[in-house]
């Protein structure tokens, strides 16, 4: 009873205590949200609002979240795009061999729609301003990703980092992961990412061995019926028309360097066992011919590099090659080795590359390789 009286007295003296607590809590909540937002906007670890701060030890390890901001706010004159086949390119090589200030914006497992999403941001950025067009786009093409849906991305993308809607930025500015892992951790334990080698694969030297590759490889079941040679063309046509070609057409001052990476012979074992060799080769031909028809495109073909692909010691799994072949490809881009000749021009046409590829794929002794590895 006494407690109640005390309470009522207090109530009279200070106003409604519930009201006061509510207002106090609400104020604290707003202040904390305000501080968090200010911190995220100021450091901006995903580069969504501005270029990196001078001297902040940024951690860059998230392609889906950090690529769009890097594309928009960093300074560059050329880009590397593609799947994990491109993560081991070092951008310093592009400076050394071609004098280009390159940025790497790889997406592991990227589908054509992923490339389209990032190209949209790249070409709308100030790096492609009227007086200062983007010089080169190096785009690695993985044929198996071009046969899927035109609107499919490999992973769900964080839309709020890809659009200009300020409202959904709340996902970014009030985000525990962003604050703890991308702002506080780098401050507490600074290990700034070297952008030249960003997203590089984790495999150390000892993983690049035939034994390791075969240990993790399983040969697929033999498919009896051969796929129609034109099986993939329809989907590839749609993907190129919607996700790739518009950027090539709208940016005639930019050179698009398209390249097909060299997968190991096990990739071709899969192709043979799944019985779609001709369909796969037709797909290479279609993409090559369609893109090479543009003046501002050059196509490089690496899949038939016999001395690379037939030695599994060059790989960490059935498709991922050693970084020294990224270096090799960069040298090719600089001196024109393995360039596919345009129609009517001198050089090696796509048919010759494909004939060589077919010959390797058909004549290689898979049984010997797979038998010996156990």
């Amino acid at each position: 009873m006494k407690e109640k009286q005390d309470f009522q007295q207090l109530h009279k003296k200070n106003g409604n205590p519930f009201r006061r607590v509510l207002i106090a809590a609400l104020t604290m909540v707003l202040v904390l949200f305000g501080l968090t937002t200010a911190l995220v906007v100021y450091v901006d670890p995903f580069f969504h609002y501005h270029a990196p701060l001078e001297g902040f030890p940024y951690l860059v390890d998230n392609q889906l979240s950090q690529n769009p901001g890097m594309a928009e706010h960093m300074e560059y004159d050329s880009v590397i795009l593609g799947s994990s086949m491109t993560v081991n390119f070092q951008t310093t090589w592009f400076q050394e061999l071609m004098g280009l200030n390159t940025i790497k914006l790889s997406y592991s497992g990227a589908f054509p729609k992923d490339q389209s999403n990032i190209m949209k941001i790249i070409f709308e950025s100030r790096n492609n301003a009227e007086e200062n067009r983007l010089k080169k786009v190096f785009l690695g093409v993985d044929v198996i990703t071009y046969t899927g849906g035109v609107d499919e991305t490999k992973y769900p993308i964080p839309e709020y980092l890809y659009d200009d809607n300020l409202l959904n930025d709340i996902n970014y500015v009030l985000n525990k992961d962003v604050v703890l892992n991308y702002i506080l951790r780098p401050i507490a334990d600074p290990e700034p990412t070297d952008l030249s080698n960003v997203y590089a694969s984790w495999w150390t030297e000892e993983y690049y061995s035939e034994e390791w590759v075969l240990h993790n490889y399983e040969s697929p079941e033999q498919v009896a019926e051969e796929a129609d040679p034109g099986a993939y063309i329809d989907a590839v046509e749609k993907n190129l028309s919607q996700n790739i070609c518009p950027y090539i057409e709208q940016n005639p001052d930019t050179e698009f360097v398209i390249f097909f990476p060299p997968y190991s012979i096990l990739f071709w074992n899969d192709v043979q066992r799944e019985n779609h060799l001709e369909a796969t080769l037709s797909e290479y031909r279609y993409i090559s011919e369609r893109l090479n028809a543009y003046e501002n495109v050059s196509v490089y073909f690496f899949p038939d590099q016999e001395e690379i692909i037939c030695d599994l010691n060059n790989y960490a799994d059935y498709s991922h090659y050693h970084p020294r072949f990224n270096r090799y490809m960069t040298e090719c881009f600089a001196d024109g080795t393995n360039l596919v000749a345009k129609e009517g021009q001198e050089g090696k046409p796509i048919e010759e590359y494909l004939a060589h590829m077919r010959e390797i794929a058909v004549t290689f002794d898979y049984e010997k390789l797979l038998g010996s590895g156990g």
């Binding site: 519930f18 607590v21 991308y182 506080l184």
Partner: protein, 481 residues
């Protein structure tokens, strides 16, 4: 729309509440129209295509109710209404005739059945279309309950609230924040371990299996009861009290007590509209037990399509009947008398063991509730009861390693210890079990708290922590190609 989303917390809810305080004095009709409109916006926020199903269902049911209540008080009309509702639920949920399942259909169907039953029983007189509309569509409860009965819900719509009730606002907001925290931080953390475990059943050892089973038992409780706390808190801020759905169910010493604490409004619904009409306990023991089994069988089906849910329902049904039969037997009476005479320690020990055994049984039953198939449930249970030890799976333990606590471990230099990776798993599971067995129910907790600085800080910390945890940074570690 989910309560635990930015759009709800920062857009929908503040706007809806502000609108309510503006129009609440404008009369019952305006207020009800507003509440229905707000509910429809909520319902159609993410999937507007379901709204016509809801509205059409509401219109037809109101027609049935009108017919029963005001025109011909006939059993046939009631039967037609029940067939309509159960048929609709069956077509959407079990036969998949439309190719989609409207959100919350299990809940709003039962809400409407309750309405028709009460009309038939003559307990409702002249319910207006608007009140009825609010009753069915009221957004805090329509997706996941609690299932409010018309007798307790409708009278509240007539209440007039002239002054701002700061105390109610404080307590309801507190309840909402506790629910949000339960859902976002506790249930979702446990959920990560559960998802990982069920996706890799073949690789688990007995410890892993036990952790997965236990985590799901806890996840489900914190998820569902957290959701209901949020629903009660939100609804309370609009002046509408929703019924209590969870009352510390895992503190139960037997399965009868468990069902007095778990999903109480569903149990109340089944008791009122199925068990009692079937004869309840008025037709002899055998019939009573059969009626119980029927209720649990249908409850299993209501929870989901598939055999696993029926097995879950029957596991509960069988133990329920056995327990009831035991409680009603003479031996049990004799034991109870003797127990009364025994010392406090023995009684406590007996109670403790009963709680643990009940909890264990409920755990096993939840395996069937969660597993994608009977075989998978069997695999998990076999793994657990094969008692093959070994170290707990690294990734499973990693699911508990919330970044914020990991910093604490680093600061304490515990990270160099070989078992550092497992600390948080053990700490979190023990803390959550402690809450479940010894903690106060959130609803009762907020009833007794006083306004003060400590609570202002606590509410702030829990809310900010939960909100910052809503959106993660998606990373895909095991990328190939």
């Amino acid at each position: 729309m989910l309560f635990n989303s930015y759009s709800f917390l920062f857009l929908f809810f503040p706007a809806a509440l502000a609108g309510y305080y503006l129009c609440r004095k404008a009369g019952e009709g305006v207020k009800n129209i507003y509440l229905i409109a707000v509910s429809f916006v909520f319902y159609s926020w993410s999937a507007p295509q379901y709204l016509p199903v809801l509205i059409a269902g509401m219109a037809v049911n109101y027609g049935f109710g009108w017919q029963i209540e005001r025109v011909s008080h006939s059993k046939q009309v009631l039967a037609a209404g029940l067939v309509f509702n159960i048929g609709l639920l069956g077509c959407f949920k079990y036969l998949d005739t439309a190719g989609f399942v409207p959100l919350g259909i299990s809940f709003f169907t039962f809400t409407q059945i309750a309405y028709l039953m009460e009309c038939y029983r003559g307990n409702l007189k002249g319910t207006g279309a608007l009140s009825y509309g609010v009753y069915v569509s009221w957004f805090p409860k329509m997706m996941q309950g609690p299932i409010a009965l018309p007798g307790e819900f409708l009278p509240q719509l007539e209440k007039k609230s002239a002054v701002m009730d700061w105390e109610a606002a404080y307590r309801n907001l507190y309840l909402f924040v506790l629910g949000l925290f339960k859902k976002v931080l506790i249930a979702d953390t446990l959920g990560k371990a559960v998802d990982l475990g069920y996706a890799n059943l073949a690789t688990l050892n007995s410890w892993d299996g036990m952790i997965v089973m236990l985590s799901y038992t806890l996840q489900l409780y914190f998820d569902f009861s957290g959701y209901c706390d949020m629903a009660m808190g939100i609804s309370g801020m609009f002046g509408i009290t929703l019924p209590l759905n969870f009352d510390s169910p895992y503190k139960a010493a037997n399965i009868l007590e468990f069902w007095k604490g778990w999903h109480r409004t569903l149990t109340a619904f089944f008791t009122k509209y199925l068990y009692i009409p079937l004869g309840g306990n008025r037709k002899g023991r055998g019939r009573t037990y059969l009626n119980c089994l029927i209720v649990f069988f249908l409850s299993g089906i209501w929870h989901g399509s598939g055999l696993t849910f029926i097995v879950w329902g029957m596991l509960h049904g069988v133990l329920y009947v056995l327990t009831r039969a035991w409680k009603e037997s003479r031996i049990c009476d004799g034991l109870s008398v003797r127990l009364e005479k025994s010392g406090g320690f023995i009684r406590k020990l007996r109670h403790g063991i009963s709680v643990l055994l009940t909890f264990l049984y409920v755990n096993v039953a939840w395996v069937f509730f969660r597993a994608p198939s009977i075989e998978d449930a069997g695999t998990l249970l076999k793994t657990i009861f094969s008692f093959q030890g070994g170290r707990v799976n690294w990734e499973l333990a990693g699911c508990f390693n919330l970044d914020e606590f990991w910093y604490v471990i680093k600061v304490l230099h515990l990270d160099r210890w070989q078992y550092a990776h497992y600390i948080l798993m053990v700490v979190i599971l023990i803390a959550v079990l402690f809450l479940v067995f010894f903690g106060k129910n959130a609803v009762n907790f907020v009833k007794t708290i006083k306004p003060g600085f400590f609570h202002a800080v606590l509410i702030t910390v829990l809310f900010v922590w939960s909100v910052l945890s809503l959106s993660g940074v998606s990373s895909f570690l095991y990328v190939n190609f």
